[in-house]
Amino acid sequence: MSARLRGTLLPVSLFLALALVPVFAKLGPESFILAIATRLVILALAAMSLDLLIGYGGLVSFGHAAFLGIGAYAVGILSSHGIDDALLQLAAALAGAALFGLLTGLIALRTEGVYFIMITLAFGQMLFFLATSLAAYGGDDGMTLSSRSQILGHDLLRSDAALYGLSLGALLLCYLLCRRLTASRFGRVLSGTRENRTRMEAIGFQPFRFQLVAYVMAGLIAGLAGFLFANQTGFVSPATMSWQRSGDLIFMVVLGGVGTLHGAVAGAAAFLLLEEVLSHWTEHWRILFGPLLVLAVLFARGGIAGLVGGRRG
């Protein structure tokens, strides 16, 4: 099989499998299967946006869940004020994510490497503690949404299948967008900076601007994921943006294979399904889960995408 074919095999089969989920869900406990699959797709979306940063920009953000939280809180806060319209909520989610990304990016991108990791963690934690202090919106306990977002006044998302469809559509759209983005002029500057920043400066690029735009874009996608996340759980709380969640997202990216985009989807799927299956099997599932991660690192270089083949050239 040619490398190119192998490279497209994984993403195509991944998306095909995800597209078939609603069909199979009809055979079993439909809404439960859809709930798991929707959660998977949404976290995959967030992880993929993080891969844009890690895999292409070399920017390991340890505060990415903050964007997820912003998207979720946009839904929660607006809905608690009686604004249920999906478009308004989405607009608020994206605007909030963009603003937060711009402000924190301007500061965080002054640093590099592990210092970047930690400063993004710091911003994530600040937002986390801010959310816990929002007494009007449930503080630590968070708040339950009265209903899912309305689309043009219709409760279209009430059906689990519709929400899943919307989430999967968003994932596919963002995936294709990111594919284009990474191959574009912009994407090449971004990857070039990851490989050799000095070289890029020496041919006249100012990496900071490109990294900032990428950081904001990844934030926007994660904000979108947050919007969907709130609709899926019907609940918004600071836990959405805990540092553990940011960590989970990094692990999904690494597990799936850094710098492949679809790897993040595979990583999210592996991470969540493993957790689901193992935790169903034994209460002490973590005793197995931990070593599995270690083994994955030691023996599966390049993550799942690397195993299946077709690493980026």
Binding site: R180, L181, A183, S184, R185, F186, G187, R188, V189, S191, G192, E195, N196, T198, R199, M200, E201, A202, I203, G204, F205, Q206, F210, V213, G313
Partner: protein
């Protein structure tokens, strides 16, 4: 006539060590100038300061009469300055073509384009292909640059520097570490460039320096002690004492 590059009283020190101690230098447009000097004379630091990778403490750097001392490296590059590095600096994961195409991109149009596949843009690929052909790398175009031989990497670095269409090219020991055959090839390329742009070459290889340079400046302990044609420099007793003498001994 204004110089293409003029350095006035350039000073820089690392702690107590003065690496540039009032360097004055003027290079005419189209001139091929070499800077030689013993190890630790501050040659590479000089290139760093001119290119903007390192900041000078005092003095002025004038590119075509304009003071660029306060500008960051990318801004100086935009004004027509390009450089190579002593330790090869390329993008190892990118193909050879993309290394050059990216440099072409830096000079042609906006890079804030998010949609079109850059690998299929003729306006990037064609100039890149032309440069690769000039540097004998056409057959390597699809290879990841990290897999090139050492000499090829040095050629690639020259191609990348030229792809930004500079008016002033700074070369930091382009022959360092090359084999005899490789170094001859590089010298040939440089020979071909003579006159088409202003070049500042820092180099240890005397044979190459004297073959290529219009004029040679000698840097010792951060100071320019002599400037002249290769013949004048060869004959300068001070230079011989301070520098060539040691080398010959």
């Amino acid at each position: 006539m204004s110089a293409a590059l003029r350095l006035q009283g350039l000073c820089k020190s690392y702690g107590a060590l003065k690496v540039s101690d009032g360097v004055d230098l003027a290079i005419e447009p189209g001139e091929f100038r070499a800077v030689i000097g013993p190890n630790g004379a501050g040659k590479t630091t000089l290139v760093h300061q001119v290119s903007g990778l390192a900041r000078h403490d005092s003095g002025r750097i004038l590119l075509d009469g304009r003071d660029i001392g306060a500008l960051a490296m990318p801004d100086r590059v935009r004004l027509g300055l390009a450089r190579s590095f002593q330790v090869t600096s390329i993008l190892p994961g990118f193909t050879v073509r993309d290394n050059v195409a990216l440099a072409v991109q830096a000079r042609s149009g906006s890079s804030f384009r998010f949609w079109r596949d850059a690998a299929r843009e003729p306006e990037l690929n064609e100039p890149a292909a032309e440069l690769l052909a000039r540097f004998g790398l056409a057959h390597r175009a699809e290879l990841p640059a990290g897999l090139l031989s050492y000499g090829e990497k040095r050629q690639l670095e020259l191609a990348v520097a030229l792809a930004t269409r500079p008016r002033l090219l700074l070369l930091d020991e382009p022959l360092a570490g090359t084999s005899h055959a490789e170094s001859r090839e590089v010298v040939e390329r440089l020979q071909a460039l003579r006159g088409s742009l202003t070049i500042l070459l820092v180099e240890h290889d005397m044979e190459a320096v004297f073959a290529l340079a219009d004029r040679v400046s000698v840097l010792v302990y951060g100071r320019v002690i002599a400037t002249g044609t290769p013949d004048q420099i060869r004959a300068d007793p001070e230079v011989r004492a301070a520098y060539l003498g040691e080398e010959a001994a």
